[in-house]
């Protein structure tokens, strides 16, 4: 018998685990969970667990109405927030069709496939996200807007606990789950926080992001507050982005590093960035998948609205940081478009695919943007050839619809589904009469 499986089964018994949660992610990026009794776990290892795929976003195709979830024993963890009263554990799953082929609509599989493509060219893909989110007093609105836990950007007024509690609790829990983090309090918005996950291969990072979101939500509940990853909950404050540092490795060598290159960025690195920039408008409907995402992208506050790159330019879509001398292994570029509500599996897949395309086709990197793109006039931007990211979900979908890169990377089924699902969201949004209109028009007209 498999040693890892044995370990899981033994731990379940020794620790008196009452439930085992099988985790997987739907196309939208929502974590799904199926609970098993301990007695069912052994069977789940050998045969997988049949789940009703039609109840899951993106798996609605008839052929996948009956899919199997195969728990990965190496991801077994006791969930720390349930306490010792009713110990609960979790494992991530791979989804397959009944005949054992990976389910095309499993986002984890989309990323695995894209990583395999990169591996065929000798590359491994590493990512390091900086995740921003807001802590609110609750999910209830006051006067039509959410209420942050603090008003000054300091962490001193959390009901039912202290600022330190939230921070300590989250870090502790994440570490219990094997995820080490850097926690920093973001001062830009009231109640806004930022946590950096450590550099890891993209699949591990994506798994970690899913775990991370759950942990943050759970700790918030424990502390009597509410955490949201919504891209732009306040019109007056900055949105929650997920700036992601990425790099490619060839074996043990960082392929982005070249001591002699501009900003020590190698030819491969330049082509990768060129790929990201060229295809950025196409992938935006995935990296910024909600109507609300575009309120962040176009809300100012250093949001990367234009397709540019720069070195120390905080308004650029791609930033090339300088690292300490002798730290060539940490060469990386930062993609600043993606937001905290994105599906990390699909977003990483597309970022990687766009970059690889740049390498394959040998794209030329355009000149660097060295001043704030926002301060320019639109004629200036046109003169310099700075394209804008889509201004709304609708426009993003129109662009993505024509993209072979996105279709090929996501696979036809996921591609279809994203378009369908997001068009529905747009239609729902368009049907709204917003407070803005009422305020502006009701009395005036």
């Amino acid at each position: 018998m498999d040693k890892q499986r044995d370990f899981v089964l033994r731990t379940i018994e020794e620790r008196g685990v009452k439930f085992v949660r099988l985790w997987f992610t739907d196309v939208v990026g929502t974590l799904k969970s199926v609970a098993l009794a301990p007695a069912e776990v052994e069977g789940a290892f050998s045969e997988g667990v049949g789940i009703d795929g039609s109840a899951i976003e993106g798996l609605t195709r008839a052929s996948e109405a009956d899919v199997l979830a195969h728990p990965d024993p190496t991801t077994f963890q006791i969930l720390p927030w349930r306490g010792e009263v009713d110990p609960t554990a979790r494992m991530f799953c791979d989804i397959t069709t009944p005949d054992g082929q990976p389910a095309v609509a499993d986002p984890r599989n989309v990323l695995k496939r894209t990583l395999a493509k990169a591996a065929d060219r000798g590359f491994t893909f590493y990512t390091h996200p900086e995740i921003e989110f807001y802590l609110l007093k609750s999910s209830k609105l006051k006067d039509g807007v959410p209420v942050p836990v603090d008003s000054a950007g300091y962490f001193d007024n959390v009901p039912g606990g202290t600022a330190h509690d939230f921070r300590r609790r989250s870090v502790r829990m994440l570490e219990d789950l094997g995820i080490s983090v850097e926690f920093s309090h973001h001062e830009a918005g009231p109640g806004q926080n930022e946590i950096d996950l450590r550099y890891a291969d993209a699949l591990t990072t994506a798994d970690n992001i899913m775990t991370f979101r759950t942990v943050i939500k759970e700790v918030a509940i424990e502390q009597g507050v509410y955490a949201t990853f919504m891209p732009k909950p306040f019109s007056a404050h900055p949105g929650s982005g997920m700036h992601t540092h990425v790099s490619l490795f060839e074996g043990d060598t960082n392929a982005f590093f070249d001591a002699g290159g501009q900003y020590q960025l190698s030819q491969i690195g330049r082509q990768f960035v060129a790929g990201l920039l060229t295809h950025a408008p196409e992938i935006t409907a995935v990296t910024n998948q909600f109507v609300n995402s575009y309120k962040r992208l176009w809300g100012g506050d250093e949001a990367p609205s234009y397709v540019t790159w720069g070195h120390n330019n905080r308004s650029a879509l791609v930033r090339v940081p300088l690292y300490k001398p002798g730290k060539g292994q940490s060469a990386r570029v930062e993609y600043r478009g993606i937001d905290s509500a994105a599906n990390p599996y699909l977003s990483f897949s597309l970022m990687l695919a766009a970059g690889l395309k740049g390498i394959e086709e040998g794209y030329e990197l355009p000149p660097e943007a060295d001043s704030d793109v926002f301060d320019m006039t639109s004629a200036e931007r046109r003169a310099l050839g700075y394209q804008a990211l889509p201004s709304s979900l609708d426009r993003a979908l129109l662009i993505m619809e024509e993209s072979e890169l996105v279709a090929e990377t996501l696979g036809e089924q996921v591609f279809n589904y994203v378009l369908l699902n997001k068009r529905r969201e747009w239609a729902g949004y368009r049907a709204q009469v917003t407070p803005f209109e009422l305020e502006a028009n009701l009395e005036a007209l």
Partner: protein
Amino acid sequence: MLPLFSRAADPDQALRHLVTLREKDPAATDALLGDTDAARRLIEVLGASEGLAVFLHRHPGETVVLAEPIVGPASEADYRERLVGVVDGLGGEAARNALRIAYRRELTRLAAWDLDQAEPIDAVARVAAALADLAAAALDAAIAIARADSRFPSDEVAATRLAIVGMGKSGARELNYLSDVDVIFVGGGDGIPDGRAIEIATRLAVDTMHAIQELAVEPPLWEVDANLRPEGKDGALVRTLESHLAYYDRWAKSWEFQALLKARAMAGDRELGERFVAGVAPKVWAASSREGFVESVQRMRERVLQHIPHDEVELQLKLGPGGLRDVEFTIQLLQLVHGQVDPEIRQRGTLDALVALADRGYIGRVEAAEFARDYRFLRLIEHRLQLARLRRTHLMPRGEAEQRALARGTRIATTADGLLEAWREVQQKVRSLHERLFYRPLLSAVAALPEDGYALTSAQAEARLAAIGFHDPRGALHHIAALTGGVSRRAAIQRTLLPVMLQWFADGADPDYGLLAFRRLSDDLGEAYWFLRMLRDSSGAAQRLTHVLASSRFAGVLFERFPEAAAWLENDAELRPRGLDELLEETEATLARHAGDVDAAAAALRTARRREVLRLALAGIVGLIEIEELGVALSAITTAILSGALRLAHRWGDEVEFGIVAMGRYGGAELGFGSDADIIYVYRPAGCEPEVAQKRAEQIVHEIKRLTEDLRLPLDLDLGLRPEGRNGVIVRSLDSYRAYYQRWSLTWEAQALLRARGIAGDAGLLADFERMADELRYPAAIGGDAIREVKRIKARVESERLPQGADPSRHLKLGRGSLSDVEWLVQLLQLEHAHAIPELRTTSTLDALAAAVEADLVSEADAARLRAAWIIASRARSAMTLWTAKTADVLPADRRALEGVARLMEYPPHSATRLDEDYLRTTRIARQVFERLFYGSRLT
């Protein structure tokens, strides 16, 4: 001394090297030549091995190893002592040279013993084991050099553990004279942290490999190949035991487990190595229960076969058909299938495994002994081949002189031809090995086969059937019993054939149905001489038959009515579609034969139709016919039966002219299996009153329907495209058509007529009908209103005609970018331009599309995308009907069905997902083209 040279594989070479040797060191050489036994050994070595001769030229003093009688290969411990001993106290290049000289000294001694055997074939196993031991000793000596030379602090080096695990042939202790030595390095710390220990162990491992294979004065020995390690070339060279085990738990692929079958603690730290072997062993055997395990192992072998360069296949001792790899593969497969429940057969060595498999009753003792001998035979040739130049090769030399030396060196024959003949014989036997060892015993579970003297249990047989892909192994075993039971000639022949055929069925998409259908066919054909002869003598036809039956229920069902069709599989000419003229001639002959008996004639026509459809189905399944040709051929078959039925229904003197006009895909000669035939009927009074003529025409229509009705292979005559559709009369006079079209002149009617093609009936009437149709379908000018109307109807049809809940992206006819999109676009172009461009006047979609490209109405790139979508949708539709024997318009969601359809579309196995993605991509892109060209650019 002359007789001694007769012992040499190549006496000329022996003499030449002897002369050189004597020039270099007369004393040493003469000393040996003075002793007949020693001289014989020397001459045998020099005559068989250029490589060792060159070594002795470099170090003439080493000839002394041949002075004393050699009683046999040394023990593993002796080899180690001798090789590790010579490097003691040495370092750097001196140590490397000493190691290599000592290795070659022992190799010379071993070769001398081997070459001196009267029956060297019997010594193959001992030689192979000794070579593995010698390699292990060399690795131990190399580790000793690496440790002595290490620049790390000596206490830390001493606290670093390093084990070398032998894989492949070195693991199995059946090494060749010169092959790569496959190894995995395992490291660990004894009192120092693992991280530090791995750092040091990695350096030690690299230096160990260098000691063996880097350049020095004395040439390198062989390659140490560590690429079987976790993650292959990209993985860490040395890992801890825990890290290895974690990898195998989590990441390893099937072939890696297969490689682990032979893992053995070979050199370095034995205790650590043995813990590695003990740790991975349970995983190997758990792996064989994983889904798709056997399959992936088989796929691996397919890949191996494909990679042999074409001009080498004939010369390959190892990888070619009937080569060593065939023996090794079959034995490993049997171990994997049965070893899970029976630890007794988990042997590393090929020969040991053969013995164990026979002992435990999984294969016959006779076979086991036979194949053990064949295996040794091939290995012996390989040994001599490699010994000759101490080069890693598995290719039979082309030159006659070299072949002759090989013949003499192996003592298999005395001439080149003799050797080749014996080799071919062994190849022949080994080629059937897989079948004889894996499949044939399946029969023993259900039928007493006295010659085998052993029998598998039902459970063992079922395990094998399940492993190769049967979903209902018990049912399959019943069929095997029925097919092979009894004393009939048929049963006897099938006992011989079935093992091979089972292998082929297992390769098919639906092995269970294939076997069942074969059983039915065999019951139907009984003792038919030709059938048994075909199966026995024509393996191509038998293989095709299994392929057809395991691929297509449609063909299976038709075979039940027409089993004789199996005979066509022998002959491609029989599978060619028959042309319309030929079919019509047969129709004529049938009518003449049954003159006076309408029902008998109609029955004969229906039989002919089934027969011809089956012919096309077979041609389609074995890949002899393209989809476009299929459409034409199926349309011709439909025309043949309709012509016949019309002749029966429409007699001289009924005072009407009558015609059948094909419409829709039938009009375009684009029918697929299971397609409806769209038609309309037309008549013209010829002497009788209009009312009477209408009555008579209706009678003809009813009669045609009655005569062509076939429950077995339905012919659905669809009249839905007639004026007024389902509400209209079933047949009209030409005048009535004309009046109708003049009165209503609807664009969609004109559009339907684009595909109208008279196919049977009175020629004058059909010509007049088409002339009338031309005026409507190729209008001199068409108004903007009419064009808008066509587009609007299409838009509405898209949403309305699609069945409730159907996924538009998977509907082959009405779905996104599928058949109807392409057809509507082409038809729109025809309505607009066919008047001016006569080339557009065709009922065929693809021909019209090509004409539109010629006329610059559509770009070549756009046309290619549309054509691709039309073809993939048409092919999928036909394949779906072949697979299930039912017609459906939605790409199946069920995985097995999708797999079956994919295979019929000539995808490789396991392509269900690929077909899905290909179909969706092709049609999505076609839809983009369609929307742009048909609806116009998007309005934003």
